[in-house]
């Protein structure tokens, strides 16, 4: 309100002296809720190296192209996965993961894999006992390759049929993230 009235007073004087006055520069907005980066980390206790995948689009929609880094995982292995979300358009960068944790009942990740033999299961729960997906278990089968699509929904209908099992069909809500990683199983 304070700002609005400031703007109005300024504008009013500006318009009174139309020719003499120019439009002031706008305040540059640093979008606080922008998600620029998705980091996926896969760890295994079965002896292989940790795998990191990422999607980065530092300037948000439009502008520069986004970059995707996929990963190579070992066959017939169980990985513990975690997802980190960042806003790197501001400095220092800000963790969006915490926002998701704070509002865990209103968020859920969905995993869709076109890689033969790869299966993803949730490894965390919100207060209602429904999954979130910030932590998950990924198991691989035989050698192959394909895509892993990770979707984050805001305000999904978690109690609808199949949603808690990871089926996105009845989830609704807005998609906050939808990224696809190429994955090789070797």
């Amino acid at each position: 309100m304070n700002l609005t009235s400031k703007i109005s007073i300024l504008s009013f004087f500006c318009l009174l002296f139309i020719t003499a006055c120019d439009k002031e520069d706008p305040d540059v907005v640093e979008p606080p809720e922008l998600i620029t980066t998705v980091n996926v980390t896969l760890n295994t206790s079965m002896g292989g190296p940790a795998v990191g995948m990422s999607f980065r689009d530092l300037d948000g929609d439009g502008g520069m192209e986004a970059t995707t880094v996929g990963g190579t995982v070992a066959a017939n292995t169980t990985y513990t996965g975690s997802i980190e979300l960042l806003n790197e358009s501001i400095s220092p960068s800000e963790s969006i993961t915490e926002e998701i944790q704070e509002e865990d009942e209103e968020h859920q990740f969905f995993f869709e894999s076109s890689i033969p033999g790869v299966d993803v299961a949730y490894n965390d729960q919100d207060a209602d006992g429904n999954p979130i997906g910030l932590s998950f278990i990924l198991t691989t089968g035989d050698v192959g390759s394909g895509d892993l699509t990770i979707t984050l929904k805001h305000e999904p209908e978690k109690f609808e049929d199949g949603v808690a099992d990871g089926d996105i069909t009845n989830a609704g809500g807005e998609t906050d993230i939808e990224v696809t990683f190429p994955v090789d199983v070797q």
């Binding site: 606080p32 300037d59 929609d61 439009g62 609704g172 807005e174 998609t175």
Partner: protein
């Protein structure tokens, strides 16, 4: 909706003294004539409220009321299909009233070309009168226009609707609120005009080419929302309206008070509205409520019969809910929504609560107009106005940011007009003027989102001149206008580091009109109207950048866009053989050079939120043509039939593909039956003019569309039926009108091509509306 929209009563009261009267032996006699066909109007009801005495005009339109005492009276006149109107007159002696009733719709009936008008234009128009505004203002301004030929609505759910005239809307359609160009965020398809229809006495759609007084750069039609001058009623007068609607459990309350005084006449109009969740044929539309609070003040002062000063101030404030299930993210979400029988988040519990996604909009207007009559032939007029438009849109956001708007814009507009008119002789009028409009638009950075529309300031300076030449059976209007438009826009770059880029633009606009109206005999007329106009690319078309929330697409402006040029030709034929029949046919064609439109690109842009289609503002050559037909038949003393048809086709002629988002064709019919036998009278209360109306609107499917031009095929044709019963209840002090109607009588399940909510949900189902209007 009612076909009664079309009834305009113009009354000229000529009170002549016939003899010196004595107590209660006076006679009031009169003659009712149809202004359009000049034929006497029989079977009109004439009624004096205070004495509860009434009669019906004879076959020569005449009536006599005997044994009237001297005093103040209100006469109520009505005719089939036409809501009654009330006028004040004094009886001191035997009195003769000469009443001219425009009982045919204005769009059918402006054959009259004698008498030079001071109005804006003689071009084709159709208008809605006060009585119809009173019956239908539970809807918004656009909703009132829905059954007019050539008019359609772009909706976003049911609270939000924008009028479309001959296929044009938004930046291309001017809405005039009490003579001032309504200034707001017209570019948005989900932004309604912020006008309270209750504050108006007349809403007119001018369909011709262009109107010079109002502004260059207008390629479309014009909608005028106007209050009348304050009635010359020396006592405190007013009216109260209350309308309840079952669908949405909506309540609309309006109060109007006014008093005429030689020193100062005043009128106040206030409206309150509250709706909850609306319902389709089968399910509730959660979060579709509306709240509205409006106030308008009108003052008039006459100084020495030469200087007329009007002051008008209004405030319009609304909160609108948007269907929760229609806020989506990317294309995948849209596909998921499209495959649903019911939208996501549909709940069975009705609620008045309005949550995000929602809009909060305030529009304030203050206007002063001074008209100085130099002599019988000349006047000069000054109009100054200021407007503030404050729009906030709230989306569902993370971490408590839902209460922070995602779009927050404030716009200040200042208008200055000077007009000079000179009637050179009986045949020739000359009018000329200057107009200045300054618009200052600022994004409030509270949103924390990069703005879709940049901050800008725009200056418009225009001069015009026009002449009107009248001869016995024809009128010629011709004129030209020049505008110099300047804009400064400040965009923020989409790349990092964020930079501010300052754009300066200047445009020269030329507008020209030519119109001939020819009267053929007493019953027919032919009017040709041609207009050439240029329009600057709008700010959104030049500089939009980013994701358009709710449209689920990335929109990109193009700073290299050129002027859009349009040539519109209309030809209108009117035939009014008698007071019983009226026909009107209007054909139009509008050619566009460099028509600016949002073109879907082949490119799908990958963002962190998934894939989005990209739309770019581009230019092409286009043509829009169509036909409006309307007719009215008074079949008997108690039966009236109205038929209307609108046809429209829009084509991109460079690529030979259809233009998207063009209104489908529609057919409207109504029958009014006046129950003449029913004249109940209890003590001093009388039931007058009971009437039943049944109407039907059939909207064809929009077939002129390629599969690739939309996410889903256009929805099918639909047919809506409405049934209404209305009556007047007249007591010595009050005139009460009441009605009850059923809209979408058969609870038809349908979706409309121009309603963006059609991707997510059905349109409204059955609704019962009951209203009462008390005039005192």
């Amino acid at each position: 909706m009612s076909n009664k929209l079309y009834w305009i009563i113009l009354i000229n009261l000529y009170v002549t003294s016939l003899a010196i009267g004595q107590d209660c032996v006076l006679t009031v006699r009169g003659q009712v004539t149809d202004e359009v066909s000049s034929s006497p109007l029989s079977y009109a009801n004439v009624f004096i409220q205070e004495t509860q005495v009434g009669t019906i005009t004879d076959d020569k339109g005449g009536f006599i009321l005997a044994n009237v005492c001297p005093g103040h009276y209100h006469i109520i006149i009505s005719h089939i299909g036409c809501q009654s109107e009330k006028f004040h007159f004094d009886v001191t002696q035997d009195t003769s009233l000469n009443i001219l009733l425009t009982h045919t719709p204005t769009e059918l009936g402006t054959v009259v070309i004698s008498g030079k008008q001071d109005g804006l234009s003689k071009q084709s128009n159709s208008s809605i009168n006060r009585a119809s505004i009173e019956d239908n203002s539970h809807q918004n301004l656009s909703g009132l226009l829905e059954n007019e030929t050539g008019v359609h609505l772009i909706k976003n759910g049911n609270g939000i609707s924008k009028p479309v005239v001959h296929g044009l809307y938004g930046n291309r359609l001017i809405v005039l609120n009490n003579g001032i160009v309504q200034s707001g965020q017209q570019w948005g398809n989900d932004h309604s005009p912020e006008i309270d229809p209750f504050a108006a006495d007349k809403i007119t759609v001018l369909k011709g080419a262009s109107i010079l007084e109002i502004g260059g750069g207008n390629v479309g039609s014009i909608i005028l929302s106007e209050p009348n001058r304050i009635e010359r009623e020396p006592h405190l007068h007013g009216q109260a309206n209350y309308i309840f609607e079952s669908n949405g459990r909506g309540n609309t309350l309006n109060l109007r008070l006014g008093k005429y005084n030689k020193a100062l006449a005043w009128r106040v109009n206030g409206t309150l509205k509250k709706y909850g969740d609306r319902k389709t044929a089968n399910y509730l539309l959660n979060n579709s409520g509306v709240e509205e609070a409006n106030l308008a003040l009108q003052l008039e002062k006459t100084i020495k019969d030469r200087l007329f000063v009007d002051f008008y101030a209004s405030t319009f404030n609304t909160r609108l809910g948007i269907l929760r299930g229609s806020q989506i993210g990317n294309l995948t979400d849209l596909e998921a929504a499209l495959s649903r029988a019911e939208p996501f988040y549909t709940e069975a519990d009705f609620s008045y609560t309005i949550e995000a996604p929602r809009q909060e909009v305030a529009h304030h207007l203050a206007k002063i107009k001074a008209k100085y009559i130099i002599n019988d032939d000349r006047y000069i007029e000054f109009i100054g106005a200021g407007q503030i438009n404050n729009r906030k849109e709230f989306d569902i956001r993370r971490s408590g940011r839902t209460d922070i708007p995602s779009l927050s814009l404030i716009q200040y507009t200042f208008n200055t007009n000077i007009n000079y008119k000179h009637s050179i002789n009986d045949q020739l009028d000359w009018k000329s003027g200057y107009q200045n409009i300054v618009t200052d638009n600022t994004n409030n950075p509270e949103t924390g989102i990069l703005p879709l529309i940049p901050d800008y300031i725009a200056w418009k300076n225009g001069v015009y001149s026009k002449i009107s030449y009248t001869k016995s059976n024809f009128v010629i209007d011709a004129g030209a206008r020049y505008d110099y438009d300047r804009q400064t826009a400040l965009t923020i770059s989409t790349s990092i580091p964020r930079e501010i880029i300052r754009y300066e633009n200047a445009f020269h606009n030329v507008t020209g009109i030519f119109a001939v109206t020819r009267k053929i005999g007493a019953k027919q007329s032919l009017a040709y109207n041609a207009g050439y106009s240029m329009r600057n690319p709008g700010i959104n078309e030049l500089y939009s950048q980013g994701l358009h929330q709710g449209v689920s697409g990335i929109e990109e402006g193009d700073i290299s866009l050129k002027m859009e040029r349009a040539l519109k030709n209309t030809l209108e034929y009117k035939f009014v053989p008698s007071s019983d029949i009226a026909l009107n046919v209007l054909v139009y064609h509008q050619y566009f050079n460099d028509y600016i439109y949002l073109n879907p690109q082949e490119e799908i842009r990958l963002t962190i939120r998934g894939a989005f289609p990209v739309f770019k503002y581009e230019q092409t050559d286009a043509s829009i043509y169509g036909l409006d037909f309307s007719s009215q038949f008074t079949l008997s003393r108690s039966l009236l039939l109205v038929l209307k048809y609108s046809y429209l086709r829009g084509q991109d002629i460079s690529q030979d593909i259809p233009l998207i988002f063009m209104p489908p064709n529609s057919l409207f019919g109504s029958i009014n039956y006046r129950i003449n036998g029913l004249k109940t009278k209890f003590k001093n209360t009388k039931l007058e003019n009971p009437e039943v109306e049944i109407n039907n609107r059939f909207v064809f499917r929009q077939n002129n569309l390629l599969v690739s031009q939309d996410f889903v095929p256009s929805p099918g044709a639909y047919n809506l039926t409405s049934l209404k019963f209305s009556t007047d209840i007249i007591t010595q002090a009050l005139k009460i009108r009441s009605f009850i109607k059923a809209d979408n009588l058969f609870n038809v399940e349908y979706r409309d091509y121009l309603n963006r909510q059609r991707y997510f949900a059905d349109d409204l189902g059955f609704s019962l509306v009951a209203g009462i209007n008390v005039k005192f």
